[in-house]
């Protein structure tokens, strides 16, 4: 292994040595990772493990978007947050766990050597282009249908690969959109589902470790794209059923020439994106208040 040309510092060589030893990842994969930038939208059930592993593995710049605050009923699955941060913004809590944070905390955390950028705001058509354009890869870790359409459309107009995960109840789903000529979210789902089919974790519940598994898989797929290794899960979808411990990886359709956003004759521009009403399109709000549980 000696005498390979690389630009890793001695500290990085030591920190990431288990990656450097891998013939199929190695110095080149780690070097690619350190130069990459990844945006994670949502610091909840999916975003928590995704952020932990993306920070740990050495992504050069990691962005976190979330407008929410930490609540006690998040703690069963959002393992990046700590009880001390209940009531405080998730972005602050997640960033503090990933790196040496504010002056208040004298100790550093998982990886103080990477850059973390905090966006303590809801993602909207008004700020999405500006934020997403600064990253190589986007991870959708949100929890509602309008956000998923908005993020996919934004990735199409900006040409960014999208690692999309979802979890509800005891099931999870995962795919990569808009990557290497593959389909976008709208190619698969041109028409939004009826609102009655769009359950949320806050309404229907979720076993905490299920988004944990899907979020880790999102981190893996983002690392594969950023590191330029392996076969990313594009044109395929992973379907996970926790209760029966069954996993299917299925082949899905390719890019649709008829797609209104990424198709051949589409003229969906940045300006049209800015003016598109995703809440009206999906008949659902970008964020809601949770229901009260009466036991």
């Amino acid at each position: 292994h000696s005498n390979i040309n690389h630009d890793l510092t001695p500290d990085s060589v030591y920190r990431y040595s288990r990656h450097l030893l891998l013939p199929s990842f190695g110095v080149q994969g780690q070097s690619n990772l350190l130069k990459s930038s990844i945006l994670v939208i949502g610091a909840g059930g999916l975003g928590s493990p995704a952020l932990l592993y993306l920070a740990a593995c050495g992504v050069g710049r990691l962005g976190i978007v979330d407008h929410d605050v930490v609540e006690l009923n998040n703690m069963h699955r959002q393992v990046i947050h700590t009880e001390a941060y209940i009531g405080q913004p998730k972005v602050k809590s997640a960033a503090a766990t990933c790196r040496s944070s504010s002056d208040k905390e004298v100790f550093s955390r998982i990886n103080s050597t990477i850059q973390i950028v905090e966006y303590q705001e809801a993602l909207r058509t008004s700020n999405a282009l500006e934020i997403l354009s600064q990253y190589d890869i986007v991870v959708d870790a949100t929890d509602n249908a309008p956000s998923r359409y908005m993020i996919s459309d934004c990735c199409v107009v900006l040409g960014k690969p999208l690692v999309s995960g979802a979890a509800l109840g005891l099931e999870g789903q995962l795919s990569i959109y808009n990557y290497n000529g593959g389909p976008c979210y709208r190619c698969l789902f041109p028409t939004p589902p009826p609102t009655s089919a769009c359950q949320r974790c806050s309404d229907s519940g979720v076993l905490g470790v299920v988004p944990g598994i899907i979020g880790c898989l999102q981190a893996l797929e983002a690392i594969k794209i950023a590191g330029a290794v392996g076969e990313p899960l594009s044109g395929r979808m992973l379907l996970f059923d926790a209760l029966s411990a069954r996993i299917r990886i299925v082949k899905i359709r390719g890019r649709s020439s008829q797609c209104e956003v990424c198709g051949e004759n589409s003229a969906f521009t940045q300006q049209q994106f800015k003016n598109f009403d995703y809440e009206k399109f999906t008949q659902a709000p970008l964020s809601t208040l949770p229901v009260k549980l009466n036991l």
């Binding site: 589902p193 229907s204 059923d241 359709r253």
Partner: protein, 99 residues
């Protein structure tokens, strides 16, 4: 002809929360082929116990439902016209948005 039908992503709630159904179906009178269009109406009649509008819209599945024939998106095999064969596995899964 025996088929295995699986429902997921919440669609199992429409069939008494049973996810996997082994069923026997036969081509409609006067035909030889059994296609996905036939299966949808068979499922609607025989398996869906409530809220059929959560499963179908007009003569296809509702938006947000993926259909997989032997682990392959039915868009790749002809959608409603996909011919089914003995022992095929058909999955109906509703896309999730939670996280």
């Amino acid at each position: 002809m025996q088929l295995t039908l699986e429902f997921g992503g919440g669609l199992e709630l429409l069939c008494e929360s049973v996810k996997i159904h082994k069923v026997n179906v036969d081509p409609p009178n006067g035909t030889e082929k059994f296609i996905m269009k036939d299966l949808l109406s068979w499922v609607r009649t025989n398996l869906i116990k409530e809220r059929p509008e959560m499963f179908m819209k007009e003569d296809s599945v509702r938006p947000g439902v993926l259909v997989l024939v032997n682990d392959c998106d039915w868009e790749l095999s002809g959608q409603l016209d996909t011919t089914l064969e003995d022992k095929d596995v058909v999955v109906f899964i509703s896309t999730l948005h939670g996280g």
